[in-house]
Symmetry: C2
Subunit: 614 residues, 2 copies
């Protein structure tokens, strides 16, 4: 095809895509047409200009280029592109967009097979793309490129700058951002308006190449993609001047049109402005080379083994476990936010340095990268202090809608960390991770159960949170004991049990100490290790509720959303009273044992609670 | 004092401060001496070089300069400064640092009167400082300066870059950052090591002045502070090359010494290296000019008034309320993250533009700024979509330890937002805000109760979350109805009630519709508006548990940590069964009513649940 024919065809495709955008949003009665129109040429040029390589019949092809709409609200454009590629009918696009049950949701989710990851909370796409580019360069060693479309408004978020920093650090010249500078945010102008140089100077300072172009001219767009794919040791951002609402005179560059669909009357006025629409035109996307990553054969992991007489911190057991099971799960990758010598991910790093990535202190970026890796088939284990996962709650929350195979490991949970004080104490982490759709929450009490649960987490397809403890704790289990998602262990049980004490992690040891003291006085309690907090072992809890007079939960966490409320929820229809011991006083610095006692979650507090029941 | 005498005194003070740092951490057996030693000259020069103005007997003085340790782990240095200023005895510092009950916690909290805000989760201090600088320049109109000490590691976080962007945007030349570039993070070198120019080019690109200095030479440090206070229209960052562990040969620039106290033997080896310690030397801090902000006299707010027949979205009522009550609470400030036309903060902005600050899409920064304003006596209302507060969970979590007078208003809660899909739905926000120590969580069901609860939030000293709804809902209450923190309303009640349905916000209307339908069939239910989810109205819930066979909670939120578990917790010792209706299926796009039904939280679902009990 001659250059002129090519430009003519791209122009036709852009007109068709604009028609789809306007028609679909008007039919839906909502959506973001103007934010889609600004990026129409940018995306048409990318997908149909010969740059993007993708097997449209096999979205799972490992060497497909990747495209992430970080500005997820431009979903009309995203779906319109795939309609223009012939993979979605006009009927389906226009009639089902934003409708209940359609894969074409208001913001892209993985219900639609061409969505790489769900977006819609701004500032997250570049980190996800970074994960995919990291995968290409360092893990799968494939030549695919990762493209991320960003809006100018989302550059106010800190999270893209975390990704920008790290992408330069890892020299990801296979990562290409396209910044759609349409000047207008939701409620007015952005901080920098149409000042492209403001973005250029920031991006250059952070080590990126930048290409400044007119985002509506294919003559500017096509050479930019050509140049961006050059692979010169740096990530590249194409910074494009665009017009919000481009193509429709009464929308162009006008405030007040964000997130608004046209009425039918407005649509009728707008469509003629697009010029003739050729509904038969279809864009071609060339297929990628059929390269696939080398995948090592899984080998059986060595068995777990800890001497029974030597306490081990569960965070150390996590590090040991990850290194131990890697041969069996060679898709494991470990990411850590500059605390690997605290989370003990460093044990894995020492054993498999090429499978470990330091992300520095940038938890949001870590989660985005992890999601990108997970979507490319890896099993990422992300570790930091339990408290600091709160930094990435939005990214964690968003990952729910991408069917995430992500494993979060939070160390330094609870007041039992001691002297460092409340800023370092994970006290809301159970609430945060329990609240996620389909999540698994694990909190082992010793090294053996930690090892087995890390293995269970690796095997489970989905989002898993594992909480570890700073201090060393005694070994409770032998190598033959089994631990699984949804399980529990009854550590003490008799026909004389007056109450059941349910602990996990560090409080399990307090419960065991309480049992020890109480049985010397002839008082017997049942002790349950509820290491799987979500899902939990309903049958065992129900039996305890039937067979003992009261349940007492003990947790090193605030009362809301943690172990206690998990048990209450499970037993909501059971009349047995449940008493919850949890962190109820404002935490402070001190020795672990002082703090456990101060908060009423120590053996002493349990004993007093049990005696109060007699 | 001659310049030479001044330098000699500062050198003496620095030696004393180093002694305090080493002795206190060794006595505590933990802490971060090396991260403190790197910034010793920087902070000694600031506090005792004549730049910092502070009434040391009145930390609350409104014209005091402000100093925030964003690198909170340098707390030994922070406390040592105040000891060197004569406000803390050597005995108290060395004997109580990190001990249970001491105000000298492992990371600074407001238990210590000179702490401006608790820190210890990195990357947050600059936003807090920004809030204080914003207050000085735009609200209190006072000449005080705000200083923030940052570590180089924390520059990997996105959050400082949010603050850096916005500080330049608001031309805060009264904000001065001091970047302690000691090269080493917790587990090794930072991304840029000792490359000061890497920081300079990034900061300059973002619109800051930078001054590059040797952070251990008072000859460089003092002129830098002189220059930084110049007020030339831009915020200033002093970028200082420092040595981690400076002053002790076996610690200097060595990896592996992060967060480690010296043993007594190591301390004995280290102390002689500091040279002679003059324990009698004290630093002088000049007092500020006695300027105080003009404070308008509070005037009574106008009464609430809504026509009973016209539905109003509670988000609109929030905007109305804020504008209505401002005369009574003239310390109110409104911040919004670029969605004021959705949260309806724009109503307040239109009425009081000088009390509104656009923070653009940067929720973490918004919370930090809010905290800075709150610590300077304002009542900040921060608004964005309920879902997007998850972006700032770490900042919100950290604010707990600063006695925060912060009001969070999250709009677009739950699946009832409809077509935009799950990325925009607040479904974990109740869990997140409930889990905070001492928090208040409110979720009004109509415009009148929203207005009254916004007023209650403004009056309450503490952290309040108010959840609002996107769609319009009918007016349920009259202007005479009272609503308070910890209250509830029983909307329907009879002696024949078979069950109690507890809703809030949008589900309250579903409960009312269920009542309507059921009573036509002769089935009566009690309906409770649980608008105060934390704390909650225990007496009313207990009465319902006694007087009806079962309780049914209905919430537009995931089951974990929300309204249902709040009720379960409150009634943990009550045998009455509680059934919880909540968002249990993966949410998607669709019409609000379709989604409420799909999730089993509609009137139909309630009716079916009630009939199942019969």
């Amino acid at each position: 095809m001659s250059d002129q024919d090519k430009l003519a065809k791209l122009t036709k495709l852009a007109a068709l895509i604009r028609y789809y955008i306007l028609a679909a949003t008007t039919e839906a009665g909502s959506g973001h047409p103007t934010s889609s129109l600004s990026a129409t040429e940018l995306m048409t040029g990318l997908l149909f200009g010969g740059f993007f390589r993708y097997d449209v019949d096999h979205p799972e092809h490992p060497n497909n280029d990747r495209l992430i709409f970080s500005k997820g609200h431009a979903s009309p454009l995203f779906y319109a592109l795939w309609a223009a590629a012939g993979k979605l009918s006009e009927e389906e696009l226009i009639k089902t967009y934003r409708k209940f049950g359609s894969p074409l949701e208001g913001h892209p989710t993985v219900s639609f097979p061409y969505t790489e990851a769900a977006t819609g909370s701004l500032g997250q796409g570049l980190s996800i793309g970074l994960g995919m580019a990291l995968n290409a360069k360092y893990l799968d060693k494939l030549p695919y490129l990762t493209y991320v479309l960003l809006g100018d408004s989302e550059m106010a978020e800190g999270s893209p700058w975390e990704a920008i920093q790290l992408a330069a650090h890892y020299r990801l010249d296979n990562l290409i951002g396209i910044l759609d500078v349409n000047r207008l945010g939701q409620r007015g102008e952005t901080m920098y308006g149409h000042d492209l140089k403001a973005y250029r100077q920031r991006l250059n300072a952070f080590g990126w190449e930048t290409l400044l172009i007119d985002g509506h001219s294919f003559e500017g767009i096509l050479p930019a993609y050509q140049q961006a794919a050059g692979g010169r040791g740096k990530p590249v951002m194409i910074v494009a001047r665009t017009i919000k609402g481009k193509g429709v005179s009464f929308l162009e560059d006008k405030n007040g049109w964000h997130g608004k669909a046209l009425t039918r009357e407005e649509l009728a006025r707008a469509l003629p402005e697009l010029g003739p629409i050729d509904k038969s035109v279809r864009g071609k996307i060339p297929r990628p080379h059929d390269q696939r990553p080398l995948e090592p054969q899984p080998q059986n992991a060595k068995p777990v083994s800890y001497p029974l007489d030597k306490p081990v911190a569960t965070r150390t057991a996590f590090g040991n476990a990850l290194a131990r099971i890697y041969p069996e799960f060679p898709r494991i990758v470990s990411l850590d936010a500059e605390v690997s010598n605290s989370t003990m991910a460093e044990i894995f790093q020492a054993a498999y340095p090429e499978r470990f990535f330091e992300v520095y202190i940038a938890e949001q970026n870590m989660v985005g990268i992890g999601l990108g890796l997970a979507r490319r088939g890896k099993i990422p284990f992300l570790s930091t202090f339990a408290a600091f996962f709160s930094r990435a709650f939005d990214q964690i929350r968003m990952s729910q809608y991408s069917d995430p195979n992500l494993k979060f490991v939070g160390s330094h949970a609870g007041v039992s960390i001691g002297e460092d004080g409340p800023s370092q104490m994970g006290l809301e982490d159970l609430a945060m991770f329990r609240a996620l759709w389909g999540s698994v929450v694990l909190y082992p009490g010793d090294a053996v159960s930690t090892e087995k649960l890390v293995e269970a987490a690796a095997r489970h397809q989905g989002l898993v949170y594992l909480r570890t403890t700073r201090m060393k704790t005694p070994i409770l289990y032998g190598p033959e004991d089994e631990f699984g998602i949804g399980g529990s262990k009854v550590l003490h049980r008799s026909d004389k049990d007056v109450a059941t004490v349910i602990g996990a992690g560090v409080t399990l040891h307090e419960a065991l100490a309480a049992w020890e003291a109480l049985q010397k006085e002839g008082i017997f309690i049942r002790v349950i290790d509820l290491y799987s907090i979500k899902p939990l072992d309903l049958a065992t809890l129900q039996a305890a509720a039937r067979e003992t007079k009261a349940l007492i939960t003990v947790e090193d966490h605030y009362p809301e959303g943690g172990l206690g409320e998990a048990v209450l929820s499970a037993l909501a229809s059971t009349p047995t009273p449940v008493q919850t011991l949890a962190v109820r006083r404002k935490p402070k610095s001190g020795k672990p044992e002082e703090l456990l006692d101060y908060e009423g979650i120590s053996a002493r507090a349990i004993i007093s609670k049990v005696k109060g029941l007699l």
